[in-house]
């Protein structure tokens, strides 16, 4: 079945959890570092859909799109998830990407990737085709394919996904286990990789400065 009518959806921003900083009015909300500011998601339906857009429910399936998130939200009893999703998209908390090359290119040029967790690498007990990510001290670990590990390691060094694709498309296939013809092919594949990593809490996405109208921060004067 074609997914053409089911655009990808990806959450944006660095999550700060629920109710930080505290609201004097007692409201519960998600706080997200997004577009250079701390922003809040207050309505329960939007909080639920934003969480579901991280796709942790879909680790095995992967490659989820708008209709999958809406179906998961309906299953969870979320009120009017379609309206909640549309508002999250218009407010910039979620990116919706049509499955065309032009849409993928636009998304890639406007977003940067930021890795979370640490690597376990390849232990002696593992076959060479997969590598582990996790948190050493907390027994959290999961295996990913070599191309996912390679992306997790290196994509964050580039200012945006477009630049990352242009660099990583040339990575040797004997390291990544994959070959791509063009950077656009890579970016298309990268969306599935990004979903895999976001679902595991191993990555977050931000809009680039090119996509955000924001003045630069000025360092404080320091007297020592």
């Amino acid at each position: 079945m074609s997914d053409d009518g089911n655009p990808w959806v990806l959450p944006l921003g660095f999550p700060l959890g629920v109710s930080y900083p505290r609201h004097k009015d007692g409201r519960i909300y998600e706080s997200v570092n997004l577009d250079g500011d701390l922003r809040e998601i207050v309505p329960a339906s939007r909080r639920a859909v934003w969480r579901l857009a991280h796709g942790a429910w879909s680790i095995d399936a992967g490659n989820w799109g708008r209709s999958d998130v809406l179906a998961a939200a309906l299953e969870d009893g979320v009120d009017d998830p379609e309206e909640a999703l549309d508002l999250l998209i218009s407010d910039g908390f979620i990116a919706q990407i049509e499955r065309s090359d032009a849409a993928i290119e636009k998304f890639a040029s406007e977003h940067s990737v930021h890795a979370l967790l640490v690597g376990y690498g390849v232990g002696a007990e593992l076959a060479g085709n997969r590598q582990m990510l996790g948190s050493i001290e907390h027994g959290l670990r999961f295996m990913v394919d070599r191309d996912v590990f390679d992306f997790w390691t290196w994509a964050q060094l580039e200012p945006d996904l477009h630049s990352a694709a242009n660099v990583l498309v040339n990575r040797p296939a004997e390291i990544t286990g994959r070959e791509y013809r063009t950077a656009t092919d890579f970016s298309r594949a990268a969306i599935s990789i990004i979903q895999t990593l976001i679902a595991r809490g191993a990555l977050y996405l931000l809009r680039t400065s090119a996509a955000v109208d924001q003045s630069p921060t000025v360092a404080p004067e320091v007297r020592i």
Binding site: L16, V18, Y20, A115, S209
Partner: protein, 222 residues
């Protein structure tokens, strides 16, 4: 906000802080392993003893005394992990700037040279813990830090260096808080570095160098 406590030890004995992101072990055909790190735009491979000593530098504060993990503690931990001549190896790692020693004397210098990169996300405020927030993976909390430290951590992932991240936190504090000490950049840097060891110990944070490439980078905070 509650005024955080920083042990006087911070100013007497430098705390050990490892630099770089752990990428894990690399096994070769013979089955022997080496450590794989990322620092700036480079990946580095450390021999087993050097990697074990670098890992031994990932250690939280002694909860009873509030004392930072220092050079002697790292040597002891590395020796317990089977490293022979841990003192020499630690010295080499410090010379290679894969481990730094932080104190009140060099905090600002470090803040200008280093980026603090979160590897875990916020969970939310600690119930009943005024001014404290939990950091973790997914919904699982792994460490609790003062809100004032979290404020810096929020920006540290997207700012050029730790100094800029403190600046961002202070900008926001100036709007929301009347606590004057929170507006002091030197205090904010020292406080963050004081708690960085606890964050690094649980893989919630890693320290990177500010490379020339970062200075022309295009993240959202540029």
């Amino acid at each position: 906000m509650t005024e955080p406590s920083m042990s006087p030890d911070y100013y007497r004995e430098p705390a050990i802080l490892p630099l770089g992101r752990d990428l894990g072990l690399i096994a070769d055909a013979s089955g022997s392993t080496r450590g794989h790190l990322q620092l700036g735009p480079n990946d580095l491979v450390l021999e087993a003893d050097h990697y074990a000593t670098w890992r031994a530098a990932h250690h939280a504060t002694d909860l009873k005394s509030g004392r930072r993990h220092n050079k002697g503690d790292t040597i002891e931990a590395a020796s317990q992990a089977g490293v022979v001549d841990a003192e020499r190896i630690l010295r080499e790692l410090i010379e290679q700037a894969l481990i730094v020693q932080a104190s009140g004397d060099n905090a600002i210098s470090l803040a200008l040279q280093l980026r603090a990169v979160p590897s875990a996300t916020g969970i939310g405020p600690v119930s009943g813990g005024d001014g404290l927030s939990a950091i973790g993976f997914g919904m699982d909390p792994i460490v609790v830090i003062p809100d004032s430290v979290l404020e810096v951590m929020v920006w540290s992932g997207v700012e050029l260096n730790l100094m800029f991240a403190c600046s961002r936190a202070i900008d926001r504090t100036a709007v929301e808080s009347t606590e004057r000490y929170l507006l002091d950049p030197v205090f904010r840097v020292e406080e963050f570095l004081y708690h960085a060891q606890d964050l690094i110990a649980v893989s919630a944070l890693w320290l990177d160098i500010v490379s020339p490439r970062d200075q022309v980078g295009g993240d959202q905070s540029a």
